[in-house]
């Protein structure tokens, strides 16, 4: 049975009328045309589809739409503002922390969630927090460096409030 679900997507109020049992990933990609969030494995193993729900990293392929009612969802499209990259995005670009770029949105959002709760993580803490995000191209070393660099240049606070 279809239902209207209302939530905030990257700071904007949205409502979707569809089956609330559908997974957030497909609603984002299909109904809301936010294709930055990617399908990776469909079973929550790879982290590719990671988005933030009320600041927590979630696997959108395993997250029923019903559960975002009244909440704030942040996808990769919501991280940069006015054409200006978030420091984390900038660090990924500057340090070449990506190759094919397919896992990158989920990777950046998982890292973003880490920096929200731990603004200055060690390399080990970064690796630990991102353990569930797979990068088949093998850019892990540069991803760790990028997250470190972004945490050093942390200018996130303003953006955070806007996004969440």
């Amino acid at each position: 049975m279809d239902k209207t679900i209302r939530f905030r997507l990257n700071g904007n109020e949205v409502s979707v009328t569809t089956s609330p049992e559908r997974m957030l990933l497909w609603v984002l990609r299909t109904d809301l045309e936010h294709t930055g969030t990617k399908y990776g494995c469909g079973e929550g193993y790879c982290g590719t589809c990671t988005v933030l729900v009320d600041g927590q990293p979630e696997r959108s392929c395993q997250f029923p739409l019903a559960n975002v009612e009244g909440k704030s969802v942040l996808t990769i499209e919501g991280l940069s503002h006015g054409g200006k990259l978030h420091p984390l995005q900038q660090a990924f670009a500057d340090l070449g922390a990506l190759q094919c770029g397919y896992c990158t949105p989920g990777m950046i959002l998982a890292a973003y969630a880490l920096l929200l709760r731990k603004p200055n993580p060690t390399e080990a803490e970064i690796a630990d927090a991102l353990e569930g995000n797979l990068c088949r191209c093998g850019a892990y070393n540069r991803i760790i460096a990028a997250v470190r660099q972004a945490s050093g240049a942390l200018k996130m606070k303003v953006v955070d409030r806007e996004a969440l």
Partner: protein, 743 residues
Amino acid sequence: MKPSKIDKPAPKLKLKLKAQPRIKDDEYTMYGPDDPSGRTTLERRDFLKLAGGGLVVFFTAGDVLDAQIGGARGPDGGYPDDPNAYLKVGADGRVTCFTGKIEMGQGIITSLAMMLAEELDVPLASVDMVMGDTALCPYDAGTFGSRTTKYFGPPMRQAAAEARGLLIRLAAAKLGSPEDALETKDGAVFAAKTPSKKIPYADLVGGKRIEVRLEKKPPIKAIAKHSVSGRPTPRTDARAKVTGEAKFAGDIRYPGMLYAAILRPPAHGASFKSAETSAAEKVAGVKIVRDGDLVAVLHEKPDVAAAALTLVKPEFEPSPSKLDNGNIFAHLKEVSADSDVVVESGNLEEGAKLAAKTIERSYFAHYVAHAPSEPHTAVVRVEGDKAEVWASTQSPFRAQQAVAQALGLPQENVRVRTPFVGCGFGGKNQGGQIVEAARLAKLSGKPVQVAWTRTEEFFNDSFRPAATYDIRAGLDAANKIVLWDYKNYHAGSRSSQPVYDIPHKRVLAFGGGFAGGGGVRVHPFATGAWRGPGSNTNIFATECHIDIMAQEAGLDPLAFRLANLADARMKKVVQAAADKFGRTFAKAPSTRGYGVAITDYLNSYVAAMAEVEVDKAKGTVRVLRVVCAQDMGECINPDGARMQIEGCITMGLGYCLAEEIRFKDGRVLTENYDSYDVPRFSWLPKIETVIVDNPDLAPQGCGEPAVTVMGALVANAIHDAIGVRLFTLPMTPARIKEALANK
């Protein structure tokens, strides 16, 4: 660079600048060209801004087609020699590079643009890349084998050099200066003695084809004069990829497009009998399409299509396959009647007589999946006698042919476009999903997207083949290798020629290569190229065997290798790695866990050294550090090259330690990342790369070479650590514990 002396100034030369329909340089669309909402049609500048102002894969629409003849081939069927096939200078001065190659993470979107910018003397930021579009780009067999820089680079450079020479000629006529008094810089031709006397390229051609040819091809620029090429340069697609703007095939939308969920057999070889679809048909909006054994559920939401597919009740015949991980190697030997001689020199009997010690071993490697980040995806729209295809593919022209064949259309009526591709590693040479989408689009009359699920990806993949090896090698009294008798079954022959100086050797390759074939049903499922195809496992077997011989010789593995190498270039690369590694090797097992492995991968030379730690109780291996030196000739983008080497090392850990397709009776038991373990952050060693400078050698490949040494590198380091040798890839905890128990 001075223009060729033959190209005399010709003030009265009639320049045939053929009139062309207006080219809509200012409009690009990121989705389907006919999206009625117009919401995704961006002004070019906005799009470039979004995508970082640098290079982007952009999708041209409309009559730009008339200006470019896609699929052009040279007289020998290879790359064409008309510069117009490779590049166009737009009315706005931006330069567009056309290449049938595709970007899947390997970074050629940056390095090809660097090569073009260098040769044409334009800023890198003014180069746009059109990649893998069969309507716009010159024909290309596909993006694989680390061949882009090596084989597409030279003709593109030559085209750019010629275009530059032509622009000088055009400028000479306009400026009234002799050609040899003109120079180029920043996208303009200027008089060397009066630089204010200049004319931008855009004013010379303004988006039109240059319909004039030079009598003689100008030489390409000397490396000493390079200012773009050879400098570490950040990826030009990074901005698009960190913002989520980068489009992959699954992000392409057509109005009215339906998503397909396709019925798969439970096992390879299980033929289709029937499917009861009435329950699925009751789902609102579902459309069932059947064509022989192709049964698909279509819906405007992909997840609804997938859910409805679970309601389909199919019947399949059981698979006749009786193969599994336990009996596969015996089977591979059994179906290996014919062999090719890869190399034969000297005389094996003579070698055996010279040998003071002979060492015989067998090696084994299991099937491995590509597991690309982005599963195989395609979108196809068929209208009348034309088909538009957007595909996650390494071979757009092969896809064009396959779609034309499947739909009964002339090839030129099929246009394949390739957006960003999320990994390939050889797996996307095969485009089963493209033909599926084409058939379903035709049958349904709607644009259709097929995006394999991860489980379909594991089922339909063309795996790296399981392979086995028998090696017999001999050492003389002076510890020189005098005999090398090498038999490889089904791996493919690449990198199976030893790099060592061996007087009596023979290398045989049994079976039809990594893609199977050879007239017998070798594998229970498809196999194919997997990053460094053939080489991964050939080098595993070869370099493990060399290590065993070093041990037999009583020498450390580095000294033994150097003593048996004659190739000075390889010795230099090995030394470069050793210098960076900075540790002294000792006769193995030293308990320190050091390993070494080297290769010549299609003339890119690699030497790697590693340090590992083994938990004997658990059988787990931790690779602590990998040093990798590589000589790939002239290096276009050193930062891009390092990224590829680092990626090779990280990805390579997977097939070393964990990746193995489990299968039984045609079924693929590893269906997702819970049962197929790929490298994660916690596996990451410290990686140090050394690019061995060799500008005198033309650029070689870089996407694959380093991945091929990983199996032997880690196996040798494990042996050095714990004194047991693993003969089977992957070296799982269970196999390590078993080897320890049998010690």
